[in-house]
């Protein structure tokens, strides 16, 4: 099976770099599955988990926020403000922040920054999803 190089880069460091047979990410217009020899493409990503299929059943998952993906030839680069591997995630904290964000959204008091709460909820959901 053909392979491609995948790199996940944040401003602070290179989070992941390796070979993969498929990358699944959520672009602004919906989920995308990228296979080797995909057409060159650039798209912003939503705050969501990204899955990298390395070999056989082995899948690397990470929570990505504020990112975009570049596909070119046999190389996929994901640039993101944050990208966390399951090992880096504090599940309890993510759950707490999910609860907080949900509470804020459900209370609906007028000065609520809805976008901020929603983003925070999405980040928490992505983190929890990745660690499952």
């Amino acid at each position: 099976m053909s392979k491609m190089t995948v790199e996940v880069v944040t401003p602070e460091r290179v989070v992941y770099s390796g070979q993969a047979s498929m990358v699944i990410a959520r672009g602004v217009q919906g989920d995308l599955g990228i296979l080797p020899k995909h057409m060159p493409m650039v798209t912003p990503l939503k705050i969501a988990p990204v899955q990298i299929k390395v070999e056989g059943d082995q899948v690397v998952r990470m929570a990505v926020s504020g990112g975009f993906m570049e596909v070119r030839g046999d190389k996929v680069t994901i640039l993101a403000e944050t990208a966390e591997m399951p090992g880096d995630i504090d599940v309890e904290r993510a759950k707490a922040s999910k609860g907080r964000a949900e509470k804020r959204l459900s209370e609906k008091y007028p000065e609520l920054d809805v976008q901020r709460a929603e983003r925070s909820l999405q980040r928490a959901l992505a983190r929890i999803d990745v660690t499952k």
């Binding site: 401003p11 290179v14 060159p40 493409m41 798209t43 504020g66 070119r72 680069t77 640039l79």
Partner: protein, 287 residues
């Protein structure tokens, strides 16, 4: 230098204390410098990549009308000035601030023509004391600032530009050359110069949803990234500058201690000689 033995001993002791402190600071600065350099290194792939993608979009879609790429008549200029929170870093802050003040004096006649975004306590104190128009400030950044820490200023500065409150934005920071040399640099950040694309490797990308929209997401990110990497570089410069300054201070302290020790020994010997001659004179008188 007619100092008593006791005074000399006290000066030696206090200089030794000072030396110990400067020596420790030098070593701390050296360790931090290394760490900061590594961070600056680690940030490079991100900046390079984002630049590459923007370059290929800009070269692929000629005449892109994104406001961040357009020069417009300059009514007001913004400056992001990166200084340190702490002193004892040699000429680090002084050089930077002098460069900024010179640039401003050269380019602007009145205070309405520019505004300053300042990072670091030293710069903030300098500008507020002299009545420069400071638009935003951050102080108390960590030694290893994360992207999230800087995002607020960088994002705000970029926002000012998009809202047309300022028409160009300059980035002023100490460029890291080596541990001994740091160059105060004033560089234009916005409007962005579309990075030069490598035409041979030009790719026909498919943009989702459209090239314009991808560009409008990427350009602010790019500007923020540039600010972040400048900050990392400035931090490395700061530690480098502090390391050199503290190294010099330690050397000077050692020199001073040597001088004082010599003086001290001379004075001690003189005292002993005098005592002996007094005893001898006393003995002679009795005999």
């Amino acid at each position: 230098m007619a100092k008593g033995i006791r005074e000399i001993r006290r000066s030696i002791k206090s200089t030794k204390n000072t030396r110990q402190i400067t020596k420790a600071m030098k070593m701390v600065a050296a360790a931090k410098l290394r760490r900061n350099q590594e961070r600056a290194e680690a940030a490079r792939p991100y900046a390079d990549k984002i630049q590459e993608v923007i370059a290929s979009i800009a070269s692929g879609t000629s005449g892109s009308k994104h406001p961040m790429l357009q020069s417009r008549p300059v009514k007001k200029t913004g400056y992001i000035v990166i200084t340190s929170d702490r002193g004892l870093a040699g000429g680090y802050n002084a050089n930077m601030l002098r460069a900024v003040v010179n640039t401003i004096a050269e380019k602007h006649k009145s205070k309405d023509e520019y505004g300053i975004f300042v990072i670091g306590r030293k710069g903030r104190d300098f500008f507020t004391k002299r009545g420069y128009p400071v638009l935003e400030e951050i102080t108390g950044l960590k030694d290893n600032p994360s992207f999230a820490d800087i995002k607020k200023v960088a994002g705000n500065a970029v926002q000012y530009f998009s809202d047309e409150k300022i028409d160009e934005l300059y980035l002023c920071y100490n460029k890291f050359q080596s541990a001994i040399t740091q160059i105060p640099t004033v560089k234009r950040l916005l409007p962005l110069e579309a990075p030069e694309g490598n035409t041979e490797r030009k790719m026909d990308y498919e943009y989702e949803p459209s090239s314009e929209e991808v560009l409008s997401v990427l350009l602010p990110k790019y500007a923020e990234t540039l600010v972040y990497s400048a900050l990392l570089e400035a931090k490395a410069s700061e530690e480098g500058s502090r390391m050199t300054a503290m190294g010099n201070a330690t050397d000077n302290a050692t020199d001073m201690i040597n001088r004082y020790t010599l003086q001290y020994n001379r004075a001690r010997q003189a005292a002993i000689t005098q005592e002996i001659s007094e005893i001898v004179a006393g003995a002679n008188a009795q005999a």
